[in-house]
Structure formats: C-alpha cells, structure tokens
Symmetry: C2
Subunit: 337 residues, 2 copies
Amino acid sequence: MAEKVKVAVDAMGGDHAPAEIVRGVVEAVSERDRIEVILVGISDKIEAELAKYTYPRGRIQVVHASEVIATEEPPVMAIRKKKDSSIVVAMNMVKNGEADAFVSAGSSGAILVGGQLLVGRIKGVERSPLAPLIPTSKGVSLLIDCGANVDARPSHLVQFAKMGSIYMEHVIGKKNPTVAIVNIGAEEEKGNALVKDTFPLLKNCSDINFIGSIEAREIPNGYADVIVCEAFVGNVILKLYEGVGSVFQAMLMQGLMSTMRSKIGALLVKPAVKKTLKSFDASEYGGAPLLGLKGLVVKTHGSAKAKEVKNSIIQCITFKEQQINEKIKKNLVQEKV
Amino acid sequence: MAEKVKVAVDAMGGDHAPAEIVRGVVEAVSERDRIEVILVGISDKIEAELAKYTYPRGRIQVVHASEVIATEEPPVMAIRKKKDSSIVVAMNMVKNGEADAFVSAGSSGAILVGGQLLVGRIKGVERSPLAPLIPTSKGVSLLIDCGANVDARPSHLVQFAKMGSIYMEHVIGKKNPTVAIVNIGAEEEKGNALVKDTFPLLKNCSDINFIGSIEAREIPNGYADVIVCEAFVGNVILKLYEGVGSVFQAMLMQGLMSTMRSKIGALLVKPAVKKTLKSFDASEYGGAPLLGLKGLVVKTHGSAKAKEVKNSIIQCITFKEQQINEKIKKNLVQEKV
C-alpha cells in the first residue's frame, strides 16, 4: 500500500471558512484513499461543519487552535504574537514532521512569513518563492515568484527557475518545461539591471530548458511553462490577470444584457461561454506552492471554495510522491559544489 | 482665428504604413480646421496614397526622407546612423520649431531615444516618460511610465506623477485627477525599495491628488486616473492588458462557435458584444505622449489604423492649446526652487 500523505488544513482562513474549507476536505478524503487531513482551527466550528457530512472518520482529525490571523494584520507581528492561531499551529506541525503539508486560504502575508520563520527553508535555498499556476490559452504556466520577496538578486531568480522547472515537470507533468524570464523586449540586451544580470546566468544553466525573454503580452498565450520574475512584477502580473479577466467578464455580461436581441442570444450562448470562461479559471489547478521549504506549504485563493481546497490537498500527494523537496535539495546542492 | 497646429507625421512607421497613416492624416485635416500636417517619408509612396483622396491641399505638405527605421533595429544606432529617416527628419522639425508635434506608429525604441536625443527634455525634467491611456470600466487611466527608462529613482516617479496629472487634467479633461502608485498591497509600508522611498514624497506633493497605493487588480476598475510606476512594471502592465484582453476575446469567439446552439446565439449577441469590446479599445483615445520634451512626441500603436492616427493628431491641438509644456515647466521649475 502506498504511503499516507498527511495534510494540515487551515479551517479558519479565507472568505468561505470554515464551511467551504471543511467541505473541500471531506471531498478530498472521499476521493483519494491516501490522504489524511488534520483540520486546524476553532474546534466547535469545525465539528459543526463536519457533522453535515458522511466521511471516513479515521482520516479527518481536528486540532483546536483558539486564535485566527486576519488578512489585514501585519504578518510578522501576527505570526510572532498569535502562537495559538490556526496558521502557526499547523505550520509547527509541518516543521515537526507531524504533517507533510499545509494548505491555507488565509492571509498571504502570514503564510509567507510563517513559511520562512516556522517551517524554514531547505539548506541552500536562498529564498522561498510563491509559485501560482496561471491559466493560458494552452493550459497553464507557473509564475514564480509572486510572494513577498521584493528586490530579488540574480541568484534568487536562478533558483526560482530551477525549482519551478522541477515542480512543473514532476507535479504538473509537463516534460522538459520551457523557462522564460519576464522582460520588456525579446532581445538579450533589453531589460532592467536585474534581468540583464540574470539572463546570462539562466542561459548557462544546463539543467533547465531556458528559451529567453518573455514579454507580458505573450504570457496568456502560454509561450513558456515556467515564467521567472521577481515578486513585485509577479504580483502585478497575477493581480492584473485576475483584474482584467473579471472586468472583461463583467463588461461582457453587461453587453449581453443591453438589448432584447442580445438577451435572447445570451440564453443560447451561455453554456458555451461558461465553459470557455471555466477553462480560464485558475481554481481548477489548486493552490500556489511556496517552494524550497522543509515541508510543503500551499496557498489557495482567499476566495477559494470547496473544489479549489480539494484540488490543493490532492496536489500534496503528487508533491510527496515525486519527492519534490529531495529533487530541489539535490539540484541546488549540486549547484553549490 | 485660432493658431494653427503643425504636426509632423511619420508616414513610414507602423504595420499599415503608409496607407492607413495617410488616410488618418486626410481625415484629421478634414475634421479639424486648425491642423496642418507635414507627412515625412518616401515621397513617391506618400503621394500615391494622397492621390486617392480629396482634401484641403494647402494643409498637407510632404517632406521626403529616404530612409526608414525598422522596428527590430537597435534604436540608438538607428537614430545616429539614419539621418535621413522619417523619424530623425521629423524630430528635427520639432526641435527646430518647424512643427509643434510629431506622431509616429514606428519603432518605440527609436521614438523614445530620438525624443531624448533629438527633441530634448525640458530643463528640469529628469526623464521623459511614455504615458499611454489604458481603458478601464470607468473610462480611461494614464499609465506613466511605460517607456524605456528602467531602474528609475524616486524623484523621477514624483515628476511622472506631476506631469501625468497635468496631462490628464488639461488634455483628457479630468478635473483634479487622482494619482496612485502601483504597489503589491494597499498599505504604505508595503512594496519594494523604490515604492517605499517614493510613497512619502508623493504624499507630500501639494499639487497632486495622491490617493495612495493601487494594486494591479484595481487598475481595470479605474480606481485611479494617473497610475505611476517605473517603466519595467508599466511595460508589463500595458502588454499584459493587451495580451489578456486578446486571448480572452479569442477564447470567447471560439466558445461562441463551438456548438450549433451557440452559433445561432452568437449572431444575436454579436452587435452588443462588439460594442462592449470597443469600449475597452485604447485606440479610441489616440496615442501615448512622451512627456517632458521640448515639443510633443506621440507614439501610436504599431498596429494603428486611420482612426487612431487621426485621434493622435487631433490630440496635439489640445496639447498646444492648453500649453501643457508651459505648465510642466512652471510646475517642475517651481518645485526646484
């Protein structure tokens, strides 16, 4: 029998906690035999939600944590002060080996800070990037880094490219993934100081499939599988992606409802349009891993519903099975020698 | 009678040159009495296009320039070597006061470099930003800087905020325009070093309506009228905006054509959807000014057709009429004292 994968889940994080989180957990354990979940948070509330479902009891455990970190709290302070918060308690479980992974829809800042301070980085990893999958017309690309590591150095970006390639190949299943660096032109001599310094280093990496620069315009076309950038730029890309998509959808809907003729047409096109929009929906792919930590930490959208929570939990199986951290360790340590 | 506005137009730049450029010029002079255009480029080709139209002959002059700068040419070299190119000849006309403004759909790099080297910056202006208008659900915002000034300093961003406010108020007609700086969170303490250093400087500017940080997600909602960022980030925003929009449209069209039912519906929704998409089309607003130069330089999209060329030319009237450069000079020189 395959080894179990123990996932600690933050029951209190996100806009739809705890209801959608608990539902996602129940769906995950129902769908995959190998998963065991530890739901961390205010136990009364968790138990009240769990009572709504039938599920294999032995595979969901509840661990009480009396505090909750809110999204707007300054992260460093929150992690230091709220020792009995769901995020801190669950991250300590990963650190102590009681859980393989941690999934949360809670405060991004607290998850990023907690990941570095509590779980800790793999030796040799300089920074731990947040790497969400973004939808493209060809499928999905990994955008690395979108975290809080602003003002990165070239050596950080090189590590991001390596870790991102490993994740994309072994977790998402993309063979020999292409890697590109975000730039303001296709030519090697273009870019800011960081990109100009990083470009030749990436070009010299024999263990990644570096294809050069990517202009932002090409990102939605799926031009590269792993898209490397520093976190400020990554954050802008990720959020603008969501913003343009949702404004576009809202305007489209408004347009469809604007005349009698278009309203009738809207009834006919709705199923097809819905299907199209769904293929551009990142929640299908689960959450964003924080790579290079001693355990796996996955951040899902604050707005995550059950399906995204379930997919994020299931993604932890592949991460463990494929020994991603061992691969990262081996790859980055080799590099150092 | 109001003063004439003389606009030099690059007849050779852009994907649809010279045909669409010449058509745009003819439309502009036909629509507005005050405009005089100098079409610069290979005269045979220009004359052949002009021969297709009826227009007030005295208001379009052709000036021959034997060379053309291609988009892929290294800009600095091109500007230095191709002395008889349409871009260099036309920019020299602006420099010498023979033209008030220059409009081109040609090589962005060459226009940016030529603007600085040939036309020259207003005294006191540290850098000349490229400031396109981007469509939002509320109308349009000015994104400043999207040029080639990477690795900017805080003082540059402060000047961008001031020049952008002047342009937005007096050319676009937005009273007391709101100004925000692109950031990865709404709080003052967030951001990279550049943003953290710039934020308090903007907060202390009494002559702009600074409203704080803007996350990329809020840009398409029209949260701020003037969006300040350094050029690398601005370039990413601008290009991603275009990229997500066009992939989204393509996928939508694919979805509409996917079933018999949706095809019938598509016929009914088409006019309404087209209208919606049009309101999200930046070409309605003309081109992007390169601000802070001794004359006006306007860069239109490489894909610009007649309408965008026409709108870009017409926008030069307001720029001159409102004495934008005098306002910039006064504002930035005051600041220096």
